[in-house]
Amino acid sequence: MARYILVRVLDSIPTILLVLTLVFLAMRILPGDPALAVLGDNAHPETIARFREQFGLNDPLWLQYLNFLRDVFTFDFGNSLVKNAPVATLIANNLPYTLELTLAAMVIGITFGIPLGVMAAVRRNKWQDNGFRVFSLVGYAVPDFYLGAVLLLTFSLSLGWFPINGAGTDFASRMHHIVLPALTLAMLKMAFIGRLTRTSLLEVLGRDYVRTARAKGASERRVVYRHGLRNALLPLSTGLGLSILSTLSGSVAVELVFNRPGIGRLLIEAITERDYPVIQAGVVVFASVVVIVNLLMDLVYVAVDPRIRVQ
């Protein structure tokens, strides 16, 4: 098993390199001249020349690529063009808020999503199941930024129960600030995780080994939890990885709605302000999180599935 983990970790190195290369290519080649993209089409030729010099855009491509990789591994992207701070500092200041929000949303989503899915599967075609299916359909249809806006309108503006913007300073106020954004994201997670649990559990409950368990005389409870859920959670762990990442990407919009600091908002603002170094860093951060989360989820899968664990 240790060997498998090692192999899997080593295997993700080419993936990271591939992702980084694609990011590099996308940013340097696809949109044409980054200088024009940043400075606008009407920029003064002298300004453009200075910009190209500053960012090494006159170097040959392979040198730019190596410099880019060096920047990534030393995590040194220079200074923001708009905000007067090093990019690394901006990232370091914003990342915790995003992680905190993602974590809170995932915790709520999992603690409610899995039991909801189990209930729907066990009570298949009963009112609980139908109710859940309506909930998951609607939950899938409502855009998270809209849900966030509605919660903001209702609970912050009208009722005044929660703050309107920011993320708070001390622990209590941070918890107070995080409630609505986390709930917004968690609703979707509940629908998604619940739906995944339901399908997966229904499929597992139709398997032959579940019939074997029933034939042994296991109670329905034992059949569902000991034999059903444990196998149903295997495919779920893959879905969970995607779910974490989609929460992360959903947090971008939610941070904007609730005017919260965070890495997503940082990136979006950078895109609209054409803050080139921050865009580059933000993209790299998001891409690395994706690779890392997928790696972790793979390892979780290995840990729970003996068919891979035990050779």
Partner: protein
């Protein structure tokens, strides 16, 4: 002397374990078929029998070059098909056809019966227009015992046995000289099996194609085969005429297979011996004789030296150091072909 229609010369197939990664060891190769040689003449039926993983289906596909052989040659009417180009091989397919195991999967689901049966005809330009095509399809359907009126239906509307008839009609459409049938009745109900076996037997006698019949069950091929080859882990263990294989089997594995088959009768034709252990994986074929891990007769030499497939009687070959008629004593009285056997012991 009759020129053989099919010659297999030392045919082998190793499926690479594949996969593997930058840091991962590649999984072991699968030795599916290993040095198989035989000949078949016009109008002859050879049955290939063996348990799962013995390579019998792979062998059938190698003969039609649906799988590229790793070694050896396959000659069809004297032409080595392993060296043909893609276009030449396609032309060769007019002479060689296949009937498949799974009657549910082997008919393309979104086509009509007429389209399916006529597909080979159209590929080789054997029908000129639609009317001619429908006439030929009607004729073929009648030959396999289906009413021509069904030709515009969809395969889904047919039962397993009916679909197998359609598959046979499709294979017959180009009048091939060689047909491979891969377990054509194993997916069918018992009462339908007999229909299909009889149908194939009748058609073979009428059209005189050479027929390779692959099965896992020695009883099924009893009626249709002229000769039988028994395979184990990619190798032919024994090959001989029907009479030789059923009456004087020389390889212990053949004898064990005969004795293990459950028979729907009260008296047992062969004394029952039960082999120990599992069939080894084709990824790890034992050294020496591949059967030695389960063979009741295995000696020291069997573990180190692989016995060649050698003649043990005229027309009969066996790959065993200790090949002898009835060496396991399963047919102590000789298999009773005239139903006068002692009542079998009851558990």
């Amino acid at each position: 002397m009759n020129q053989p229609i099919i010659q297999a010369e030392n045919v082998g197939k190793i499926f690479p374990g594949g996969g593997g990664g930058l840091w991962r060891p590649a999984p072991p190769d699968v030795r599916a078929v290993d040095g198989v040689s035989f000949e078949m003449t016009r109008g002859e039926t050879l049955a290939v029998v063996g348990e799962s993983g013995c390579g019998k289906s792979t062998l059938g596909r190698l003969l039609l070059r649906l799988i590229e052989p790793s070694s050896g040659r396959v000659l069809i009417e004297g032409t080595d098909i392993t060296t043909l180009s893609g276009a030449e091989m396609r032309q060769m397919r007019r002479k060689v056809q296949m009937v498949f195991q799974d009657p549910y999967g082997s008919l393309s689901p979104r086509r009509t019966i007429a389209q399916l049966i006529a597909e080979p005809l159209q590929v080789f330009g054997l029908v000129k227009n639609r009317r001619q095509m429908r006439e030929r399809v009607a004729e073929l359907l009648t030959q396999v015992g289906l009413p021509p009126s069904v030709m515009d239906r969809n395969p889904r509307q047919f039962s397993g046995g009916q679909r197998q008839r359609i598959g046979i009609a499709r294979a017959l459409s180009v009048d091939p000289s060689f047909i491979v049938a891969d377990e054509p009745v194993s997916a069918l109900d018992v009462s339908i099996q007999a229909q299909i076996i009889n149908l194939m037997q009748d058609l073979q006698q009428e059209k005189q194609f050479s027929f390779l019949f692959i099965a896992h069950d020695l009883a099924v091929v009893r009626h249709i085969a002229h000769r039988v080859a028994v395979m184990y882990l990619g190798q032919v263990m024994e090959i001989g005429t029907k009479r030789q294989i059923y009456e004087v089997p020389q390889h212990p594995y053949t004898q064990a297979l005969l004795s293990a088959a459950p028979e729907a009768r009260l008296d047992r034709p062969y004394r029952r011996i039960v082999l120990k252990g599992d069939v080894p994986s084709p990824t790890a074929v034992p050294e020496g004789c591949s059967f030695h891990t389960r063979c009741p007769l295995a000696q020291g030499i069997c573990r180190v030296e692989r016995p060649p497939l050698a003649q043990v009687a005229p027309g009969q070959m066996a790959a065993c150091h200790f090949a002898a008629p009835n060496s396991l004593g399963v047919a102590a009285a000789g298999p009773s072909l005239d139903k006068s056997n002692s009542p079998r012991a009851r558990a």
